[in-house]
Amino acid sequence: MSIRLDKPFQELTPENIDKLQAQLGVYQIAEPDGTISYIGYAGGRSLFGLNGDLKKELENRNGQPALFRHEVNMQYMSRHEELLMLHVADFGELPERNRRERNHKLGRLRPAG
């Protein structure tokens, strides 16, 4: 089982988001070239789970195109931390927006292979 979120990106469009239900989970937002710019989670306080949170992401883009991929996951908290650590392991630093928002210590992960 891959611990990375490696399914293909989709375009962040209302149609694609509407295919998602209000489930809890994690997601990644990427620029059109595939550079991940944010790793987020739809947690227990989100009104409509992944569907609602990704709609907010779309609104915040103000028409700028973006990609996304997601994973339904009730353990969204530990999965989110894992994805952040994996990103640092792979790219040396957090995605730009996570760097700005984060105010807690992040762990270190060195996955095998």
Binding site: I3, G43, G44, R45, M74, Q75, Y76, M77, S78, R79, E81, E82, M85, N103, H104, K105, L106, G107, R108, L109, R110, P111, A112
Partner: protein
């Protein structure tokens, strides 16, 4: 007979209860229901408050700067400190400070300087690395991580699993086999810096506890200097066992605290929720759930305090601590489960803390020695002899 608090204990407990309800619980209203941490600014502010209360550094021996508080009072406090959403695994978000790993108080002066004091100052975090893929209940036989002497160093190879917080820790206590011929007499405890080459956290182990996750560690040709042996070579098992016994009382008290809060919620709710024209509180099946909860809570509370009082008197408390751990975790699970039943659908939601307690309480029957191991410990003490 219920435990009669002294006037001083009553003052402390009232202060802690007020602190939890007025400072901790309101912060959680804004956090994700699975959050494991509060904002660092809030943390710093609350630490100042606990320092002003004279209660910071709970569990740290007074000679190392901790407050003069006996085990019984700490147990009474632990009942209160757990009474919030994250309370089972992060009581009051650690704003009462932490004692760190108890074994470090027995370390050499140089080890204390490098590891213990930075922990007490809140500068370093540590992990406890005992469990391996081959098993955790019986570490004396299960440990396969090997340490081989090479010059003045030890070279370690192996793997650990379910290790909480290893990814964020600066160092950890790690148990390895130094003599393959001897079972429990062949295990040594090492102090490992997490930036030592050969130490790698390979993955997050996702469990029911999403906030404070466990990790899997690989140890490949990890070179550890001789001065990082904690205690004596081949005497590490006693260190592991000692920690497990000591930990059982606060561990059990946390379960009881959560159960007390769940019961409070269940009582409040059954009085206001009406079905078939009358409050739930008037139904015998609900009343019996409340009564069964109370029996569970009082029994577990009583044993926790008995263990704590024996510890304060300097008597052996191993049987009582094992009983408290067993009763606290099992009774706590039953109480939370009944409280959820009384809350109906709302009990299943993330709107209430019951759902998180239910998941995390389940782990309490496994972590820090599963129920079966607690029974084994008690049986050894009661029947005598050591079953190998």
């Amino acid at each position: 007979m219920d435990y009669q608090m002294t006037d001083e204990q009553r003052i402390i407990i009232d202060m802690v209860r007020k602190f939890v309800r007025e400072e901790i619980v309101p912060l959680e209203d804004k956090l994700d229901p699975d959050a494991g941490e509060i904002d660092p600014e809030d943390h710093a502010r609350l630490v100042e408050m606990t320092k002003n209360m004279g209660l910071y550094g709970l569990g740290i021996p007074p000679e190392f700067g901790g407050p003069e508080i006996d085990v019984t009072t700490m147990t009474l406090m632990a009942f209160e400190m757990a009474q919030h959403r994250a309370g089972l695994y992060n009581p009051c978000y650690s704003v009462f400070g932490g004692a760190g790993l108890a074994q470090l108080y027995e370390a050499t002066d140089a080890q204390k300087e490098k590891y213990l004091y930075p922990v007490l100052r809140g500068e370093k975090g540590a992990f406890f690395g005992l469990t391996e893929p081959s098993g955790g209940s019986d570490p004396a036989r299960a440990i396969q991580t090997r340490a081989v002497k090479d010059g003045s160093d030890w070279v370690l190879n192996g793997a650990k699993i379910f290790i909480s917080g290893a990814d964020r820790a600066d160092f950890g206590i790690l148990f390895a086999r130094t003599d393959a011929e001897k079972g429990r007499g062949g295990i040594t405890c090492f102090l490992i810096d997490t930036d030592m080459p050969g130490f790698n956290v390979r993955r997050v182990v996702h469990t029911l506890r999403s906030a404070r996750y466990a990790t899997e560690i690989s140890i490949e040709d990890l070179r550890v200097p001789e001065e990082n042996v904690l205690g004596e070579v081949n005497k590490g098992f006693a260190i592991a066992n000692d920690r497990l016994s000591r930990q059982r009382i606060p561990y059990a008290a946390g379960c009881v605290g959560v159960a007390m809060k769940a019961q409070e919620m269940a009582i409040e709710y059954c009085k206001i929720r009406e079905t078939f024209g009358a409050p739930l509180a008037t139904r015998q099946s609900i009343q019996w759930m409340i009564v069964d909860n109370e029996i569970d809570i009082r029994t577990a509370r009583h044993i926790c305090l008995e263990a704590a009082q024996k510890a304060d008197r300097g008597e052996s408390f191993r049987t009582e601590a094992a009983m408290a751990k067993l009763l606290g975790s099992e009774a706590g699970g039953r109480v939370v489960d009944r409280a959820m039943q009384i809350h109906g659908g709302y009990g299943m939601t993330k709107d209430l803390p019951l759902e998180r307690w239910y998941r995390e309480m389940r782990i309490r029957r496994i972590g820090e020695g599963p129920s079966e191991v607690q029974r084994l410990v008690m049986a050894r003490d009661l029947i005598g002899g050591s079953f190998h």
